[in-house]
C-alpha cells in the first residue's frame, strides 16, 4: 500500500507546478490549464485523505470541485474567445487596460 505521504507529495508537486504555471506563463490558455492542475492537486489531496481516514465527505467534495472547475472552464473559455476577438491575442500581459 502506498503511504499517504506519497500522494500528498505528488499533490504538492502538482499544486506547485500549477501555481508556478499561473505566475510564470503568459498564455491565458496555459494559465487556465495550470489552474486546473492546482484544482486537481487539491482533488488528489482530498481523495487521499478520504481514503486514509475513511471519510466519505472528502470523496464528495471532489465532485463539487470538478463541477466548479467545469463551470469555470466554460466561463473562462468564453472570456478568452471574446478577448481574442477584440485583441487577436490572448497574452495576459496585454490585458492591462484597467491599469491604474
Amino acid at each position: 500500500m502506498i503511504p499517504l505521504t506519497y500522494y500528498l507529495l505528488v499533490s504538492a508537486i502538482l499544486f506547485a507546478m500549477g501555481a508556478l504555471g499561473v505566475l510564470i506563463r503568459r498564455n491565458a490558455l496555459v494559465i487556465f490549464m495550470s489552474v486546473e492542475l492546482m484544482l486537481n492537486a487539491a482533488n488528489l489531496a482530498f481523495v487521499a485523505f478520504a481514503r486514509q481516514y475513511n471519510a466519505f465527505s472528502g470523496q464528495l467534495f471532489v465532485f463539487f470541485v470538478m463541477t466548479v472547475a467545469a463551470a469555470e472552464v466554460a466561463v473562462g473559455l468564453a472570456l478568452i474567445v471574446a478577448i481574442f476577438r477584440v485583441k487577436h491575442n490572448i497574452d495576459v500581459d496585454q490585458m492591462s487596460s484597467l491599469k491604474g
Binding site: A19, L23, R26, I31, D93, S96, S97, K99, G100
Partner: protein, 710 residues
Amino acid sequence: MLLSETATSPLFSLVPLIVFLPVLGLLLNILFGGRMGEKAIGWLTSAAAGLTFVVSALLAYALWAAHGETVVVPFADWITIGSLHIPWNFRVDTLSVTMMLVVSGVGTLIHIYAIGYMHEDVRFKNDPKRFRRFFVFLNLFIAMMMILVSGDSYLMLFVGWEGVGLCSFLLIGFWYEMDTLGRPSWANSNAAKKAMITNRIGDFGFLLAAMTMFWAFGSVQFGEVFGKAEEIAAAQPGIIIAITLFMLIGVTGKSAQIPLYVWLPDAMAGPTPVSALIHAATMVTAGVYLVARSWPLYTLAPDAQYIVAMVGAVTALFAATIAVGQYDIKKVLAYSTISQLGFMVAAVGMGAFVAGMFHLVTHAFFKALLFLSAGSVILGLERGHHHLAHHGGHTDHHEEVFDPGDMRNMGGLRKRMPVTFWLYIIGTLALAGIFPFAGFWSKDEILLDAAKLHPEVFILLTIAAFFTAFYMGRQIWMVFFGEPRHEAAAHAEESPKVMTVPLMVLAGLSVLGGALNLPGVHTLGHWLEHTIELAEHELHLPAWLAISWGGLNPVVALVSTLLALLAIYISWLIYGRKPLQAGQPDPLKKALGPLFTGMENKWFVDEAYWAVFVDRYVDIARFLADVVDWRFWHDWFHDKVIAGTYNWLSHIALNRYADQKGIDAFFNGLGDLTKRLSTSLRRLQNGFVRSYALAVMLGVVVIVGYLLMK
C-alpha cells in the same frame, strides 16, 4: 352728554353742537357736495354756521338766566395716563360765550358773503370746482375755533389753536399754484408755509407754557390751575412769570405781534373772506383770548403783564407806520389788523381785560367789514378788467399783469361802487375811532386804562391811533376819490346783494357795537365780571385823568378823537385835495424821504429776518446736509468706518484667514492627502494579472502561515 351738577338749564347740554354742527356741515359737503350746486353748498355751510350762532345765543341766554355762573359740561374722556386725566369738557362762561357769539356771528355773515365772492373768484381763476373745498375749510375753521374757545383746559385749547392754524394754512394756500395775481408761481403756498412755520415758533412757546404748567400745577385744567395759582405764586413767583412769558410767545405767533407778526401780511394771499374771518376777526384774536382766559396767572405776574403790554403797544405803533406806506388795499388792512391786535394785547396785558375783549368784539365787526368791502372793491375791479378784456377789444393792451388790489390802480370808485363806498366809510370811521362808531368806545377804553396804568403805553397807543386814522384816510382818498387811474377802475361794477347785505349787517354792528359797553352802563364789563375778576388798583391819578363821566374820561376821548380828525385832515391835504394821478409816486415819498422808503418796505423786517434767521438756518441745514450728513456720516463714517471695517473683516479676516487659510486649507489638504495616497496606491494596479495572482498567493501564504504559526 352729561350735565354737570351746577348746570340747571338743559340748554347747556346743547354746547357740543357748536363744534358738531360745523363738522356736520363739512361732512355733508364732502359727501354730497359734488352733486350739489354752488348755491346749495354755500347755503348748507352758512346754515351750519348760522345754527352754531343760534346755539351760541341760546347758551348766552342760559348763562344770563343762570347769573353768569360758569358751567363745565363734560363731554368725553380724552387722555388718561396714570394720574394725568384730561377730559374733553366744554366750558361755558361769559368769556367763552362772548367769543362763541363773535366767531359764529361774524363767521356766518362771512360765509354768506363768501357765496357771492367765491362764485366770482373761482371763475376769474378758472377753477369752479374749487368752490366746494373753500366751504369745507370754512366750516372746519368754525369747528376748530369753537373747540379753541370752549375748551376747558390748555391742552383742549391747544387742539383748537392748532386746528385753526391748519385751516389758516389751508386757506392762505387755497390758490396754492399761483400768486395773488393768478400767475403760476408758488408765492401763495410760500405764504401759507410762512404762516405755518412762524406759528410753529409761537406754538413752541405755548407748549413750553403748558408743560411748565403741568410740571408746577400737575394739571392743565383751567379750574385746577387757576385755583392753585395764588398758592404757587407765593411759593415760586418765577414759575408764574415763566408760564406767562412762554404763553406770550404763543400769543405773538397767533395774534401776529412783534417779533412773529411777519406771517400775517403774507397771509393776505388767501381769498378775501379768509382774510376777514381768520386773519382779522377771529383766529388772530385767539392770543388775546388766551391772555384774557389766563387772567388769574397774568394778574399774579405784574412784570409779565408789563412786557405783554409793551409788546402790544410797540406792535400797534410799528405796524401802523408800515400800513402808511403800503399800496395793496389788503396789505394796509393787514398791517392795520396787526396794529389793532397790538391795542388788544396791550389792553389785556395791562390787566384791562374788559377793554381788550371789547375791542376784540368791535374790531371783529369793523375789520371784517373793511376786509369784505375791500374784497368787494377788488372784485369790482376784476369785473371792470374782464369787461374791458371782453368788450374793449384792446386785448394786446392787457397783456401786462393787472393787480386789482393795488390802490394805485383805483380811484374814483365812489361813483362806480356807491354801496361799497358807504360801507367802507363806516368801517373806516369805526376803525379810526370817530364818535359814535364802535371803535371809538373800545379804543377809548383801552387808551383810558393805559393812561391810568402805564403812561408810556398810552403814548405809544395814542400815536398809533393817529397813524390809524391817517392810513385809513389815505386809503379812502386813494380808492374812492379822485379820478380812476386805470381803465379797470373806470369800468368797475358794484357787487351783488349776497355780498353787500352781510356787509350792511356788519356795518350796522360797526355803528352800534359800542352799545355793548357804553360808559355808565358797561354791559360787557358786567357780563365778563362773572368770569374775570378785575383787580382794583389804588391809583393816584392827576386831576385831568380822575374825571369820569360814567367811566369815560372826556380828556382822553377828546384828545384821541381830535388826533384822529387831524390825521384824516392831513391825509386829505396830501391825498384828497390833489388826487394821485396815474403813475405818480406817493406824495409822502418826497416829504418823508428815506422814512417813507422804510414804511414802504416794511422797515426791511422780512429782509432782516431772512438774513439773520432764514439764511443762517439754510446755512446750518446745508452744513448739516453736506458736511455732517454727507461727508461725515455718509462718506466717512458709513463708507470708511462701517463699510471699511466690514470689508476689512470680510476680506482680510474672514476671507483670507478664516476661509482661505482655515476652511479651504483643511478641505484642500483632505483632497491632497487622498490624491497622494491614491498616487502611491495606483502603482499596485499595474494591470498584470499575474502580479495580482502572485499577490493573492503571497496573501494566502501569509494567512495560512499565520494560522499555522498561531
